[in-house]
């Protein structure tokens, strides 16, 4: 069965994207990436002195992983910062793909919708394949599509909170109103059940980091998320039953023993 995720013309078997941060060790990060089955991983750029070798070590691993790289612009607050970091990412990672983040509020790391649209427009003009981390606002999402984004990544909940899908109504609305746009829940997922829930709603994929990296056993949690995403996607494809207000027996009622017609019982 082929049920591939298609983003910017590239297809993937896996519908789970994961971040590379916050793991107890680089080795556990690698094992977790493998256990998750993820084919797209996020990473970033930060200031580094030549004595620090983390950058090169990470880069060596990443090149070996064979994953599609998705550099982020985490921490950027203005389109200007975003553009500079995006260009630096493209030069180092040799990819046009970019997880666009423009943070508008330090407290809940909420995306700045105005900066997001402005930055996305310029990045698309420069040839980037932009995957914006955005809120679940339908109008903002439409603006992002208008300026050339082909994929949207609305938040489930603020980054690192693990609170799941806080606004199901908005997320459901996005799914229904943008049926042809690949939609990825990015951020806020804390448990495999929440990832499955997003997939059952028809979301195309899920991106998360903290829920795996901060688990007591990240490698096992990566596997759990892999299974949950597969289960949720399979369930969505199979078609969920409609909810009903009243009970309806699943066991046949016909030929139920001990039951007598009322008039028969009366004759006795």
């Amino acid at each position: 069965m082929t049920d591939l995720l298609k983003l910017y013309g590239t297809t993937f078997d896996s519908r789970l994207l994961i971040g590379t941060a916050l793991y107890p060790s680089p080795a556990i990060m690698r094992e977790s990436v493998e256990a998750s089955g993820a084919q797209i991983i996020t990473l970033s750029l930060r200031r580094q002195s030549p004595e620090q070798q983390q950058g090169k070590m990470l880069w060596d691993y990443i090149r070996e992983s064979g994953c599609q790289l998705l550099p982020n612009t985490a921490g950027c607050k203005t389109p200007r910062e975003v553009i500079a970091l995006a260009e630096m990412s493209r030069e180092i990672f040799l990819t046009d793909w970019l997880k666009l983040e423009v943070i508008g509020d330090d407290y809940n790391l909420q995306p700045d919708p105005y900066g997001l649209v402005e930055a996305a427009r310029e990045l698309v003009r420069r040839g980037f394949k932009v995957l914006p981390y955005c809120t679940d606002d339908l109008v903002v999402c439409r603006k992002l599509l208008d300026v050339g984004c082909e994929v949207l990544m609305p938040w489930g909940a603020p980054i690192g909170t693990g609170r799941g899908l806080l606004n199901r109504y908005n997320l459901q609305t996005l799914r229904e109103r943008l049926p042809d746009t690949p939609l990825i829940i990015d951020a806020g997922i804390g448990a495999p059940s929440q990832a499955a829930e997003a997939m059952e709603m028809g979301y195309d994929a899920v991106l998360l980091n903290t829920a795996i990296a901060r688990a007591q056993e990240p490698v096992n949690m990566a596997r759990a998320f892999r299974l949950a995403v597969e289960a949720g996607r399979t369930a969505y494809s199979a078609g969920l039953m409609l909810k009903r207000q009243t009970a309806s027996p699943s066991t046949p009622t016909l030929d139920m023993p001990f039951w007598q017609q009322a008039d028969t019982a009366t004759q006795e």
């Binding site: 030549p50 004595e51 983390q54 950058g55 880069w59 982020n72 500079a84 180092i92």
Partner: protein, 66 residues
């Protein structure tokens, strides 16, 4: 003259270009990228990029990210 590299002041005895400064500071390989006063400088332009007093450089390398 002096420039600021990743937030740290570096004193330069004489005017120089970006390529020479990076070499002097020990940056090698391709796992880094540079912005000058907030704007990206492509690797191919290092040699022709003259540094001025007070310039701010950001030199970044890959890190883990979410």
């Amino acid at each position: 003259m002096q420039v600021v590299v990743n937030g740290q002041v570096e004193k330069l005895e004489r005017p120089t270009d970006l390529s020479s400064l990076l070499q002097q500071l020990g940056y090698s390989g391709e796992a880094f990228a540079v912005a000058l006063n907030g704007d990206f400088v492509p690797r191919a332009n290092y040699g022709e990029t003259r540094l001025n007093d007070g310039d701010a450089l950001d030199i970044v390398a890959p890190v883990v990210g979410g």
